[in-house]
Structure formats: structure tokens, C-alpha cells
Point group: C2
Chain length 418, copies 2
Amino acid sequence: MNIATQLLEIAKSAKKAAATLALAGSEQKKSAILAAATAIEKNAGKILTANKIDMDNAKKSGISGALLDRLELNESRVKSMADGLRQVANQPDPVGKILAEWVRPNGLKIARVSVPLGVIGVIYESRPNVTADAAGLSIKSGNVAILRCGSESFESSSAIMECLQTGLKSAGLAPDSVQLIPTRDRTAVGEMLKLDEYIDIIVPRGGKELIKRVLAESRIPVIKHLEGNCHTYIHASADVAKAVKITVNAKMRRCGVCGATESLLVDEKIAAKFVPLIAKELTDLHCEIRGDEKSRSLDSRIVPANEEDWDTEYLDAIISLKIVKNLDEAITHINRHGSHHTDAIITEDDSAAEKFLTEIDSAIVIHNASTQFADGGEFGMGAEIGISTGKLHARGPVGAEQLTTYKYVVRGKDQIRP
Amino acid sequence: MNIATQLLEIAKSAKKAAATLALAGSEQKKSAILAAATAIEKNAGKILTANKIDMDNAKKSGISGALLDRLELNESRVKSMADGLRQVANQPDPVGKILAEWVRPNGLKIARVSVPLGVIGVIYESRPNVTADAAGLSIKSGNVAILRCGSESFESSSAIMECLQTGLKSAGLAPDSVQLIPTRDRTAVGEMLKLDEYIDIIVPRGGKELIKRVLAESRIPVIKHLEGNCHTYIHASADVAKAVKITVNAKMRRCGVCGATESLLVDEKIAAKFVPLIAKELTDLHCEIRGDEKSRSLDSRIVPANEEDWDTEYLDAIISLKIVKNLDEAITHINRHGSHHTDAIITEDDSAAEKFLTEIDSAIVIHNASTQFADGGEFGMGAEIGISTGKLHARGPVGAEQLTTYKYVVRGKDQIRP
């Protein structure tokens, strides 16, 4: 069977399974996910053995440190996967919620009710835990998932997938409610992106190149997460000590996550106090600071920034720094150079904060906290399948609720339209 | 200036205007729309004169009856446009609504707040009233609209646009918050569809060919309305007299609208009673009935249907008719052949109705009423910019509320992420 035919078969069986899964009860879905979590813990040994094969292959093919780290599983990471599934299982069912209801003057009763999207395609890279997260969120939201893992995590993902299907079976649900594309063949992604008749939405989860490719090729709507060029703006009325603490966390807690602050804007009225302090803290942590001229005149540890720096998501121990005249300049700069992901203001002035929260056109806007809270888990969603930087359908963290759509249910008493 | 440059200029000015319009207050937006309604009534003469030019040109170029009818304005249609705007103006503001809010264990307060999408592109055909509807809904939802009317309605739409801009100005809003592309040049649509950096969403409103072209060419997400192959299913427990009355209305009230029933499914247990009655009523109204063999054995007025008929949206006085064994066969048929727009069941059996409402995968599902209620106005939305048959972002009638997205507003007390 060639890849195109194979993908078509998978998509057809997924669409068929979707009609049944959409009608599954809350308890049934919950018990499937909980059983999958148990199966993952029980089969930890098997999963780790599979992961060892992936790791050995990866090392042989010369895969680098950060990628290897993402690929690697250990007992605690397997435990986290199971815990993540349990958190998703215990969320409220996002399906069948009456989102709104009203009665028309002619007596028609109209309700807007949440329903699953249908079939979700998830394309990801090296992290095998995405297999569990994506499948858990899909089952919870009544959607069938077709998962395409990175070729380097194929053995690990396959072992995890078995546990998920065990969970589905034990709850009386069809095991093909979640499916992993059973091939490493790289043409499979292209074939998958053509199947708009069967797949309702594509969620790419990975680096910029993957997402660009998916956006360019897909005939299926995509929930995109392009970049996280996040800002922290230190307002004139910030508490300097708190601002330093929050900024260090926002940049350095983990610099490889999309919610990491990549660009620091400092109000000129507070710059003389704030800049030397933050420059010391960050350089002590081996973070490079690329600043504009004004900031460099305040601290010699700051190296020169160029225009490109304002648009760059480093995902590394580098931050850009710009001194701005006021709140308005900060807002204009962020709306122009940011990626509409997550941006924060640090200030003791509530009216300045409200202006920032209102006028910044980003998925997540934050007052007095670290941008690293941009995360479905931190938002209380149990898990996330990604963070959308697009405005259509879902914006910000995409949890089970964001994987639903709605239908209008109209109950009449033989009304006809005049 | 060439068309590409012209479109780019329009899109840039739209994006700029969007940042301001997004912050406009409810009262300001409302008064702009009300003032536009007044301006339309005051300038009815001017609008009708412009429409006469469009009509004369259309006749000269040999445009047909139905299209001419859609193009034509008269005093009562102008009045309807103004009334439609007033209805939209008086709807609740869909922007700034707190859709959900919660507090995390660490004290972070998270709110999901509705915000405008930004810039909406609307591409439509001959009906000039879309100019007013689309602009009204856009202003209401805080979005800037770029409108591309059909070339045949250019003079009428331009005259209406002047009134809309008068309304915006009188409320202190920038007149370029709604813009009509000021050229009949047919390459403008293609150029518009490339501007994904400036336009957030495209709403095509017109025939299948237009929508297919937009879907194929657009780099901007599209709210699509493909077809309305709507069904009415007469269940075994239907009240026959009511079923006849509802079916006649569902098909014949207006056969050219997307909510018109195109296919009638009749349970075999009620067919002998129902089919001759509906066949008489519909043929008396000059509606052609294309039925399967079983139905033709019940009434000689029914002509043979072929397989294609089950998938056809006639938008004409034609209906297909199929006898089905039971509710399950009806559901399977509709989910397979329907266009996921609007489908109705007629029955006195509430549990059969609930099964139908749950299992039919359509934007609108109806129990005991005419499918012709599938309409934003009838749903109480004031007006609609279209009916989405897609599942992403908006499904069913697209009113002002569906033209919004949301952002997460996070209020902290100096929390950092551990």
C-alpha cells in the first residue's frame, strides 16, 4: 500500500470513529483517559525501552543536545505524562455545554451547544509526551486524533499510543479513536495535509519551519503558533525590585519556551535605576543583553542591538532591551514588533496597566507577573495542544474546550416562516 | 497607481483605523450606525439614482431576471436597509464581554475577554444591501471592513458607502473604518486575498463559484458558506397535516435562499399517507419532485431522481424525495449527502427528535419547524454577514458576536513561575 492510500484509509476510519466518539458520555471519555494513564505507568518499562532505541538512533544520526533532551524519557517524565492525562480526565467535559439559549418571539427555542470538531490532525516533532497530551485532549473533547510524530520519536510514540488504545478499549471506545501514523516516511505529512474531506483541523506543534510548511501546504484549517516574541515592559511606576525579579524569571526560568520574554522595554523615567540592576542580574546568569544606545549609556555590559533584534524570538539566553519614552511608545512598539503571543507590563499604576491590557493586541496580556505563565497548564486547562497566535477560532492556549465547535439546536412547535 | 498598490494602501489604512475602532465605546459605535441609517433614509433619492445607473448598465449587458432582481433597489428596500442597521445598532455590544474568569491557586486572575478580529474583508456580488449589512456588523463588532462589491452594483454600493461614512464621521469615528474598494477592476479580488498581513478574515458572500475561488486563492482565513443542501425528514410519528404545511414552507416560501429544503426524506411507515399529500401540494405550486422508486410507486406526479440529486442544492422549485427505512437511515443519509447547513425532523416523538438533533452534524438542527428559519435575523442577531458551513471559528449565522475573537487578561501580584 502506498503512503497516499494508507493515509486515506486512516482518515476514513478516523472519520467513522469520530461519529461515535462525538456521542460518548463524559464518564466514558474520562475513564478511557484515566485507564490510559494507568496503562502508561504499568508499561513504563516498555516505553523506556522503546525510548532507548529512539535515543540510540538519534545519537547515531548525530542529533544535538537540546533535541536529544526533548526526545529523552525517564521514569519521572513518564509519570508526568500519566499525571497530565489524569488532569485532563478530571477537567469538566467541554462537549454538550449550552453556551447560550433564548426564545424568539415566535416561540422558537434556540440553543447554542458545544460539539466536537470531528477529526484533529496533530503534527509534532521530537517530544514523545505530545503523543499522550494530544490524545488525551482529543478524547476529552470528543475528537478523533490522527497523530504524526517526529520520525526520531517513532518507537517511543508507538509504545505510548498502545497505552492510549488500551485505555480506549477498556472504556468500551473504539481504539482507532486515536491513531498514530504507522510510518516514518516523510511524505506522509504532505498526504495528510491534503485530506480536507476527512480532517477538520491541523495543529502543528514544533519549530517555525514545521509550522511554515504546514501553513503553506495545508488544505485543512490550521491552528497556528508562529512565534513567541514576548515583551516585558517596565513602566515608570514599577517597583524596581519586583520588576527585576519578574524580568529575570520571565527571561531565564527556561529560555526555550514560547512564553519566555525576548524583549525588554524600559520607561526612560525609571531606566537609570532599573537598567544597571537588571544588567547585572542577567549577565550573572550568562544572558546576553542587546540594547539600544540609551541603554548602553547606562550599563557597559549591554552590547549593541540592531533593528532585527526587535523582531527576534531568540529561544536562548539573549534578550533585547529598548528604552521607551512612555506607555504609548511601548504599546506601539509591541503591537508592531511583537508576535501577538504574550506581553506583560510591570507597574504599580493600575490605570497604566489597564491601558496596556486593553491596547496590546496579543493573545495573552499580563499585569505584574512573569510572561512564562503563558501555558495551558498554568491557566488551569490541564494541558494544552499548543498556543495559538492566530485570531480565528482559538487564541492563546488551546485546551480541550478550544477543540470544540458548536451547533444551533432549534426546537419548534410547527412554526413556518411568513 | 496600479491595483496592487491601491489595495495595499487601503489595507494599511484599514489596519491603522482598526487599532482605534477596537477601542471605541459601545455608545459611539451605536450612534455611528444609527446615524448611518438616518443618512441612508435621507439620501434615498441619491441611492436610487445610483441604482438606476447600475440597473441600466446591467440591462445593457444582458444580465438576467434573478440577478436583476437582486440588484434592484426601491424605496422599501432602502427603508429595510436602514431598519436593518438600526437592529444591528440596538444589539448588545459583542466587544469587551468577559466570557470567562477564574483565579488560579497562585492568585493569578485570568479573564477571557472578547475583542474585535481587526480587519474584515467582505467580497460579495450583486445585492447592494450587503454594503450596509456588512458595514453595520463590522462597526458593531469593532472591526474595520474592506468591502468589495460586485462590479454591477458599484454605483449603488458607493452611494450607500457615503452614508455609512457620514454616520462614522458624525459619531467622531474615522470614515475609513469602512471602505469600499473604489474600482470595478476584477484583479482587485486577487490582490485583496494576498494581504494576510493586514486583513484578518475574508467573508465571501455569493454563489458557489465565488466562494470556491476565494477558498482556492486566499492566504487569509475564510469564513465559508459553501452550500445549503438542507433536508426535512418526516419521521414515522409525524403529524401528517403539520408535516405537509412545514415542508411546503421549507421548500417554497423562497426557493432561492440557502435555508430552503432541497431534499425530503420520508419514513416508510408514514410514506403512503404523506407522499400523495405533499406531491399534490408541491406540484400545485409548480415544484418538481424527483423521487426514488418507492416514492414514485406512491404518486405518479413524482419524476425519477438519480444519485446526483441527493447531493444537489437546486435553489429552485425542485425537490428530491427519498423513502427511508427509519431514523438511523435518515441520519446516515443526511450526514453523508447534506452540506452541514440546516436539517429538520418533523415528529411528535421527542426521543426521536433528540436523537436527530444530537446525531446530525450540521450547523443548525431543527425539530418541528421550517428550515427557512436558518437566518441571522430570524435567530435574533439583527443581521448576518453569512451562514458558515465550516466548523472553525463560526458555525451557522455569522452576526456581530461571531466577528470577534478574545484575549486573555492576566492580573498578577508579582508572581513568578517556579
